[in-house]
Amino acid sequence: MKKKILAILLAAMLALGALSACGSPATDPSAPPSEGSEPEAEAHKIGVIFYGRDDALGSCVYEEVNHAAEVIGVEVEWALGDYDTAAQLTSAENLVSAGCEGIMFMPIEDASAQRVGQYCEENGVWFAICFRDILDQDIKAYVEGCEYYVGSCWEDDAGAAEEMVAVLAENGRTTYGLEKLNPSIALAVRNDGYAAGAEANGGEIVAEYEVPNDGNSQTHINGITNFLNLYPDMDAILMTTASQGAAEAIMNTLKQNTTSEQIQVVTFDLYEGIAEDFESGWVAAAAAGNSPDALFVFLMLANSVEGTPLSDSFINLSQKEIIVTSAEECADFEKYIDNPDFQIYSDDIIRSLNGKFNSEVSLEDFTELMEAFSLDWVKENSVQ
């Protein structure tokens, strides 16, 4: 009897899940394009598939894309909370059914890039990718061969890693321990960037341990402890990620066992308490992890949807990452960039990147702006 009840419950849960997936995408009732602006007869609609808007990056992307859409007179429809290929594909189908003529998405994995891309191609819908490069070469070749593929923009993690190693080298630190990402994941380019940086700056990665996928902080504790015990000459730790408690575990272990004179850290992503660690000399540099990739990709896509494409072929843009090297820069970053209430680019700049408002808009306009992107530029050009 009990097994029957369990079976019925499980079946009901499955049915519920299936039914909810058939529902309309996770549209936000407060989506700005519906408020205020009166859509013109030819107003275009773009769908955005993103992991969520609850964290710093997500909320910034949400606000900047919505604002840009409002400025250039495009409707946006959101699909949030998808964590696997199947879910992202379903969202793409739903968005297209809802009238979207373009899809911007951050693929959760390479397979998603292919599946969603294929769907869009088959249905004559423009698509573009933000925040990710495609690692699998076959999938990349397929996507780049699609007629409706506009292009992508992703952060230059490898370049950021090299830059941070250069900062360490300037501080006289050349013997590194690496908190390494699993080579199979997309962010593993950070490993390569650190390696390249070490070579370019006359340094050496003497030891490494792999970030645990079970989030077990003991792995970080043991890894750092082994670094300190086995390599007394080690003078810096290269962190590929600060998330899932990695930063806290690593920093707490360091603080209990050594000094900031002995060891400095460079890291991707800011974490709580990083400002204090900058001040006390523990952290030399951090790749701040939030940049307007999505905005550029959205504007690029909008141009294609509206019939003013920037190029006849796909476009790959590389977004410079902001490297912060002090507590003050951390504060500035949080104020100007990691802040959903702050628009990095003015409405004029946004319009200048759209064919409706600037008939001479070109790819160079995009790349120039992206090249100029820095904390100082943002502070200087701030209109808020």
Binding site: S184, Q218, L230, Y231, Q244, E248, N252, K255
Partner: protein, 323 residues
């Protein structure tokens, strides 16, 4: 004197195996030749041993519990946040984490008792549920504790926790009836049942006990790192498997000694393997392969000890036949 000799014989295998491996490591990796490295290994083995002792109860009872990693996570997040909110200090963290872990394990045991489906199914379902719950409670932020809590990463804090865990495991396994019942149920269900042991309740109790030790491990992790973050997509299974490997290695080297001590040495050996991989710059993506091969080798050696003895006899007999 007899007692001493008896004691030495009981523990000689586990100590000798560990010592030989340490000696080999030091022989081939000069950077490991120091007392501090030895101390580091002994310290690094402490936390995994705690979880390993909990897993042991499940293995003894014949339970397949893949949810123990998720129990660690939920115990850390619930227990850590509760203790911090109430200002209970590290002792409060330990108590709250253990209570939360025990509750998580008890839910597992209760579901097993009510539903009577295999423990592997219950544990996987709860693993998914606990991981999801952790993504929701406390805003999905996990737990972050201040530096004042970080007293369990080094001596004497870690030693106190090890002794606490050992005492608890020893009490449960040797001084309370439940330990014997668990052993009986896992070894021969029919005979255990025929002798009046309630099999279902015993297996459920083993699940709860594993949760208790998951809480203890969670407390030690928090008291060392100060943080626990949410994990999804069955990521916590890694924690569970690592603990199981400590137990398997420990069981294979325990011999006639106390299995709890054997598991501690098993945990030390696991850490030694990790250290060796680092020292010899072995590519990290293959580290799990190496660990798995070691575990298989230990299990093979343990299972085939009789075979090795027979081989020796066969050779002696063949030599005798020739003469």
């Amino acid at each position: 004197m007899q007692t001493v000799i008896k004691g030495v014989r009981k523990y000689i295998l586990m100590v000798a195996v560990t010592a030989i491996l340490v000696a080999l490591l030091m022989l081939f990796a000069p950077s490991t030749r120091s007392l501090s490295i030895l101390v580091t290994l002994l310290e690094q083995g402490m936390a995994p041993a705690l979880l390993g002792w909990g897993v042991l109860f499940n293995i003894k009872a014949g339970n397949w519990d893949f949810g123990v990693g998720a129990e660690v996570l939920i115990a850390a997040i619930v227990g850590g946040n509760a203790a911090d909110a109430l200002g209970l200090g590290i002792v409060g963290v330990v108590c709250c984490c253990m209570l939360a872990g025990l509750a998580a394990g008890a839910v597992s045991g209760l579901l097993y008792k009510l539903l009577r489906v295999p423990t592997i199914i219950i544990s996987i379902a709860l693993m998914l549920i606990y991981e999801s719950v952790c993504g929701v409670i406390f805003g999905g932020r996990g737990v972050t504790l201040g530096v004042e809590y970080l007293v369990l990463a080094s001596f004497p804090g870690n030693a106190v926790m090890l002794l606490l865990g050992f005492g608890l495991a020893w009490l449960l396994s040797s001084k309370l009836k439940i330990g014997y019942s668990i052993k009986a149920v896992g070894s021969n269900l029919k005979v255990a049942e025929d002798n009046g042991i309630d099999v279902v309740n015993t297996k459920a109790a083993a699940l709860a006990i594993a949760g208790l030790f998951a809480g203890l491990y969670a407390a030690v992790s928090l008291g060392s790192s100060g943080v626990a973050r949410t994990v999804s997509a069955m990521g916590t299974m890694g924690t569970c498997f690592n603990a199981m490997m400590c137990v398997f290695i420990g069981l294979s080297i325990t011999g006639r000694g106390n299995v709890l001590v054997g598991i501690y040495f098993g945990a030390v050996i696991m850490q030694m393997i990790q250290m060796a991989l680092m020292v010899f710059s072995f590519p990290t993506q293959y580290s799990q392969v190496v660990v798995a091969l070691f575990v298989v080798a230990f299990m093979l050696a343990s299972a085939n000890t009789e075979g090795l003895r027979r081989l020796k006899r066969r050779r002696a007999a063949a030599n005798g036949a020739k003469q």
